[in-house]
Symmetry: C2
Subunit: 307 residues, 2 copies
C-alpha cells in the first residue's frame, strides 16, 4: 500500500457564517487533508503538534480513519493552535478574528521512521521552514511532493517559500495568491512563471469557480459543483488537496492524465466539506455518496462533440 505523509496544523477553529456560529471545533489543514485522503486505500500519517488541551477523542477520530498519528506531538503544558474567523455574506471572503499560534510557534516536525520513505508528501499550509524540515527528513526521493501555501507566507517569509517551492512537484494556491506570487494578472502567465520557479504542476484554486491544473502548455479545468448553499467554506482547500494527493498516492500514477482525475476527486470531496460546519460532513461521508457525486461531476462537464 502506498504511503502518504501529511504535515499541517491540527487545530481548534471557531467559525461564524451567515448560517450560524460554532464554539471551538476540530480544524486544521492536516485534519482536513487527512480526512479527505482517508477516502482512498493508502497508508497515511499526519505530522503535527497539539497542546495538552486537545481532546483524545479528536485524535481517536483520526486514528479510526486509519490515519497514523505517531507524528502528532502532544505538548502537555502547551495550548493547541486556535483560529477564529467570520465569513461575509458572499462566502468568498472572510475576516480572521483570532490566530493563536500556541504550540505551533516552536513546532519542529518529526516524520515517523516508517514514513520517511513515503511515496507522496503533502505539505499542508505552514511556515515554509517547517515544510522544508519535513522534506529534509525523507530518506527516499518521494514519487510526488505537493505543496499548499498562502499569501501570509509570501508577505512574511518569501525567500524560504521560494526555497520550498523549488523542491516540490505540485503547488496548490488560489488565484489571488498566484497573482501575488508572480505579479501577473493572467493565470496562464502566472502558472508559467510558477513552473519556472520549480513545480512542474500548478493547481490554481478559484473557489466557487473551480480549479485549474497547469502542466507545460496543457491545462485542465475542474468546475466546482454548483451548490444551492455553501454552509461553511472552512477546510475546502485542504479537503481538495487531501483528495488530490490521496488519489494520486493510492493509484501510484502521477501522470498528467491521472492528475486530471485527482483534481476531480479533490473537487468532489471539497463539495461535501462545505455542506456543513467544520469537519462534520466529512465524518459521515460514504463511498456511495462519493461515487454519486463523481457521476454528477461527469454529467456536469462531459459532452459529446465528435471532431
Amino acid at each position: 500500500m502506498s504511503k502518504l505523509v501529511i504535515v499541517g496544523t491540527v487545530a481548534f477553529d471557531a467559525i461564524e457564517t451567515p448560517f450560524g456560529k460554532t464554539d471551538k471545533i476540530l480544524g486544521g489543514a492536516a485534519t482536513y487533508i487527512g480526512l479527505s485522503a482517508s477516502n482512498f486505500q493508502l497508508d497515511a500519517a499526519a505530522v503535527s503538534v497539539v497542546g495538552g488541551d486537545f481532546p483524545q477523542e479528536y485524535l481517536d477520530l483520526l486514528k479510526d480513519r486509519n490515519i497514523n498519528i505517531e507524528g502528532i506531538e502532544i505538548v502537555k503544558e502547551g495550548k493547541t493552535f486556535f483560529w477564529s474567523g467570520i465569513y461575509h455574506n458572499d462566502m468568498n471572503s472572510r475576516d480572521t478574528l483570532a490566530t493563536e499560534l500556541n504550540v505551533l510557534a516552536d513546532f519542529n516536525p518529526i516524520v515517523p521512521d516508517n514514513y520517511k520513505d513515503s511515496d507522496v508528501v503533502m505539505l499542508g499550509n505552514l511556515h515554509p521552514i517547517v515544510q522544508i524540515g519535513v522534506l529534509n527528513q525523507m530518506t527516499k526521493k518521494p514519487k510526488l511532493v505537493v505543496l499548499d501555501t498562502m499569501n501570509f507566507w509570501m508577505d512574511t517569509a518569501l525567500d524560504q517559500l521560494h526555497e520550498v517551492i523549488k523542491r516540490v512537484d505540485v503547488i496548490t494556491i488560489n488565484d489571488e495568491e498566484a497573482r501575488q506570487l508572480t505579479g501577473e494578472y493572467s493565470l496562464v502567465v502566472a502558472a508559467r512563471k510558477i513552473h519556472e520557479m520549480g513545480p512542474k504542476y500548478v493547481v490554481i484554486k478559484k473557489g466557487e469557480h473551480g480549479a485549474l491544473l497547469f502542466h507545460d502548455d496543457n491545462v485542465f479545468y475542474a468546475p466546482a459543483l454548483p451548490l444551492e448553499e455553501v454552509f461553511d467554506p472552512t477546510g475546502a482547500g485542504d479537503t481538495f488537496a487531501g483528495g488530490f494527493a490521496g488519489y494520486l498516492a493510492s493509484t501510484g500514477d502521477v501522470s498528467f492524465e491521472n492528475m486530471k482525475n485527482a483534481v476531480i476527486y479533490g473537487s468532489t470531496l471539497a463539495s461535501f466539506c462545505v455542506e456543513k460546519f467544520g469537519t462534520e460532513r466529512m465524518l459521515t461521508l460514504t463511498q456511495d455518496e462519493v461515487n454519486k457525486r463523481l457521476q454528477q461531476f461527469k454529467n456536469l462537464t462531459q459532452f459529446e462533440i465528435e471532431l
Copy 2:
C-alpha cells in the same frame, strides 16, 4: 436548411482597453451574433436598424457571410446607434462613456416574410418591447426561442421584460443579472426561480469563469478557455449566444444533451472574439481554427474516471 432569425443592434462601437483604443468600429449585438452563427450551415437573417452614416462595406461584410440583411432597415436621415466604453485593468468590468440611441430610439423591427417561419429565433439584447414585436411576427411556433438581455432592462422595463421572458425557451444572462432578476445569491436557486418565470433552459454567463446551463435539476458547466490575454471582451456574450443558437439551428436538435454541445460551441467562438478588438478576429476565423479550439476544450474538460 434551418432558418435562424436574429434581432439586435447593428452599431458603431468605440472601445478602450489597457491594450489600446479604437475609433468608431463595427459593433452591435446582431453583428456579433450573426458573425458567430455564420460558422454553421444555416440560413440566417439579421433584423435591425442603422442610419445613413452606416458604411455599405459593413453591410456587405455581413452579406458576404451569408447573413440576410433585408431586415436591416436603413434610416437615411438618421444616425447609427453608437456605444463607447472603457475596460478596467482586470477586463471584468467596464464603464460606459457614451450611449447614443439615434435610430434605435424609434426602432420598429420588421421580420422579412421569408423568415417568419424560422426554426430558431435569437432575441439579442434590446428593449423587451422590440423583442416581443419580433415574436409577434412569427407565423409558426419556432422550435426554439433564445433571449439575451441585461440589467438595464431590469432597471427600466421590468414588466415588459417579464412578458418576453415568459415566452422564451432559453435565457442567457450573466451571473450578476441572474442575481438581480431573482434576488437570490446562489446561482442554483436563481436558475430555479428563472425556470419558474418561463424559460426551460437558463444559461448563466460568468465571463472568464465560463458558463452554466440549467434545465430542471440538470446542470452543465462549460469553462472559458484560460487565455494569456483578453484583448477586448466586447461582443463576447453575443458571440457566445450566436454560437449557441447557430449550432442548435444547424443541428435541429434542441435536447439538453445537444444544448451542452451548443454551450461548448458558444464558449469556443467567444474565446476567439476576445483575442482582438471588436469583430476583427471573427472576420478571419476558419473552420480549422474552430475545430482545433474545440479539441482544446475537450482536453480542458474531459477526464477518464470509471464509475
